[in-house]
Symmetry: C2
Subunit: 192 residues, 2 copies
DNA sequence: ACCTGAACACCGTTCAAGT
DNA sequence: ACCTGAACACCGTTCAAGT
């Protein structure tokens, strides 16, 4: 028996799958409804518009991003609590090279597309990035000086790389070492 | 009498205006055609699909960006041919704080919004950023060492700032001086 | 070469109606 | 509260036909 929670979860998963398989241009309410075995109008009952559906996806996106970085920190600091260098290297690699997988990369672009026209979503995005910046600053602050400056350099850079990184003359992998040297003042000799 | 050049220019301007006024969601071929006083199918004659129209729009966008920076360089180097510092300061201010005026800032977001739904346009964007990066590198190369690295840092950062700059702990104005010191190795004492 | 209107398959949204 | 089908206005694309 499908209650409200099950149904919304089912819709969320169908939306995610559809985005992965057909890209953002292939995401239509009719297809989502069809995958859930419900009518188009019933989908509209749970999410009263396409924007509402994508807003829910946005919340999911932010949650995953946060968990991803937190997991990285815990993993490294568990291995060697004193190894600030390794954590930095991993953090830079995560932010610049790995970014997120394709699915979340598509979602990231789609969210900015929506935010350009949806003031509420745009404000939500800003709040998320403020929180993200504060958190990153506190993480860096324990290990390196000028944490606020580093954050203000690194977050915009990493988001920009997600857009234009593959068109730059220096590879993203090489840029990790550039950033490492920029922050520590020493050449990158960390192997991960 | 409208020849081909006039017609395409007219279409281009109508597209830009429409994007500005109604955003990427409001941009439809019918509206563009209507604004130009031509039929939908005639618009399709000049631009055989929506993607083709958007590609032309992107080309226009990048041309303006390039001209903007070139004008800035000429203005400064005319005043004092030796003043690489002033040019750098102006370039950084242009890229980080001013970016472009509102119109092109909106256009920038809308283009990425559209590129998320249009693979061909996304590839076109990549090509333009490659050219932009090569050009910026050549500009910097005459004045400062490690031009490719600077380009690979600065372009993604400036695009990222356009998205999340207002959520960072350090203001964009202050970040100009940070970048100045990063590139020159000296404190920013340039007044503009 | 330039331009038109009609038709096609699809989209998001709305709504009266059922359980 | 949950779900449906039909209808609406709109979209990009195609195409036979005009000048």
């Amino acid at each position: 028996m499908a209650n409200r929670v099950d149904r919304t979860k089912e819709i969320m998963e169908a939306t995610a799958k559809l985005l992965m398989e057909e890209g953002s241009e292939g995401l239509t309410l009719r297809k989502v409804a069809s995958r859930c075995g419900i009518s188009l109008s019933n989908l509209q009952y749970y999410y009263p518009g396409k924007t509402a559906l994508l807003q829910a996806m946005a919340a999911h996106f932010f949650r995953v991003c946060e968990e991803r970085v937190l997991a990285e920190r815990d993993k490294v600091l568990h291995d060697d609590p004193a190894s600030a260098q390794v954590f930095l290297k991993r953090l830079l690699t995560l932010m610049i090279v790995c970014e997120l997988d394709d699915f979340y990369h598509v979602l990231f672009r789609e969210l900015w597309a929506l935010a350009a026209r949806d003031a509420t979503l745009a404000e939500g995005m800003r709040t998320y990035y403020c929180r993200y910046a504060a958190w990153l600053t506190s993480q860096i602050n324990e290990l390196f000086p000028r944490a606020e400056t580093i954050t203000s350099l690194l977050i915009p850079y990493s988001e920009g790389v997600a857009l234009v990184g593959d068109a730059m003359p220096v590879s993203n992998e090489a840029m990790v070492s550039v950033w490492y040297q920029l922050i520590t003042g020493q050449p990158d000799t960390v192997k991960i």
